[in-house]
């Protein structure tokens, strides 16, 4: 790629009472990520641009943004994969309040993790011996499939149910609840199933699969939510262990 190739980048700006897209000409480089582009704009074009990132290697889940209308982890999204007609449009994550420019307020997202009881509830003290859980135990296998979430909120931004029903707990919180529902050491199952059976609970999922499509770690929250629906129905009907 030649050194002086450029691309048009429209970046959402808000704060100070104004909002709208601002267009920058940024250099187009080989192996460039979307986060590289945002960083270039902040360092070379407008230092007042607000955005959030930390690890730059797809571990921390803090740099997710809407790129050409779709939620992406920007540090691992190569520009070559998403560039449309030589243009990029970068906006803050959907379904979350915006603090300023590209930085969203993640508070509602994490509050829903708490509301879904998506936190480990120990059933033993720290002095108890380690619980033996075999790697091929079916519940461990189910938890394994869902456990690599990095809390990036890409699924939350992709979810049309969240968009139309702000009460809905969302794919990430419910996916985490599913890993805990399969944790033999967890003692909070009843409270968790009650928490995810309320008005904004797992039963609102339409199984559209946007979360599964966009999850950067290729998790399947749709399947996790389906598992939770089965677990709540089994528990409500008294069929074995939820």
């Amino acid at each position: 790629m030649s050194g002086d190739a450029t691309m048009q980048v429209s970046v959402w700006r808000s704060g100070d009472g104004k909002e709208g897209f601002q267009t920058f000409d940024a250099p187009r480089r080989e192996h460039q990520t979307v986060l590289d582009v945002v960083t270039w704009i902040q360092q070379h074009a407008d230092p007042s641009l607000a955005y959030r990132f930390a690890c730059r290697v797809g571990m921390c889940g803090s740099c997710a943004m809407m790129v050409n209308g779709q939620p992406r982890w920007t540090c691992r999204t190569h520009v070559s994969r998403v560039l449309k007609d030589g243009r990029l449009e970068i906006a803050p994550l959907r379904n979350l309040p915006v603090i300023r420019d590209l930085a969203t307020d993640m508070t509602p997202f994490f509050e829903k993790w708490v509301a879904a009881e998506a936190v480990f509830a120990p059933s033993e003290s720290r002095e108890a011996p380690m619980a033996p859980i075999k790697p091929d135990d079916p519940r461990r296998v189910a938890a394994d499939a869902a456990i690599e979430c990095i809390n990036c909120a890409v699924c939350y931004a992709a979810c049309d149910v969240v968009a139309s029903n702000p009460e809905y707990l969302g794919p990430a919180a419910l996916n985490r609840a599913w890993t805990l529902a399969n944790d033999a050491r967890d003692g909070g199952q009843k409270a968790r199933l009650d928490a995810i059976s309320k008005a904004g609970g797992c039963h609102n999922c339409h199984s559209m699969g946007n979360c599964m499509t966009f999850c950067p770690n290729e998790l399947n929250p749709t399947a996790s939510i389906a598992g939770l629906k089965r677990a709540t129905v089994k528990a409500a009907l008294g069929w074995g262990k939820g």
Binding site: S164, K198, A199, G200, G201, H203, N204
Partner: protein
């Protein structure tokens, strides 16, 4: 907005409706093989407790199932919430129930 109770009600009514719909279609196909007049159909259904129960259960299941489905659609697309949403859902369910039971009564009583 869809709680476990509403979710279960909608699934249970779907399970009820599935065999009733298949039964209805099967009887329709069988009954019209040699041609049937309205009078002949009414002759078989009127006074039949079996057909009254068959279509009565179907109408009750439809009213519950459809009202819950409409409740979700109206909430998600029009943003209706709270008491207004409940009034809408109950109204839709009761309207479907009244219309359906009226038809069942007319054909089987």
């Amino acid at each position: 907005m869809l709680t476990l109770r509403l979710y279960l009600l909608q699934r249970v009514t779907a399970i009820l409706m599935a065999p009733l719909v298949l039964g209805h279609i099967a009887v329709m196909i069988y009954a019209v093989q040699d041609g049937l007049t309205a009078a002949e159909i009414l002759g078989r259904t009127q006074g039949s407790l079996g057909w009254m129960l068959f279509y009565g259960v179907f109408v009750v299941a439809v009213a519950i199932h459809a009202a819950i489905g409409l409740r979700v659609i109206v909430a998600e697309t029009l943003g209706l919430r709270g008491a207004g949403l409940n009034v809408f859902a109950w109204g839709a369910g009761l309207l479907l129930l009244a219309l359906g039971l009226r038809a069942v009564w007319a054909v089987t009583a």
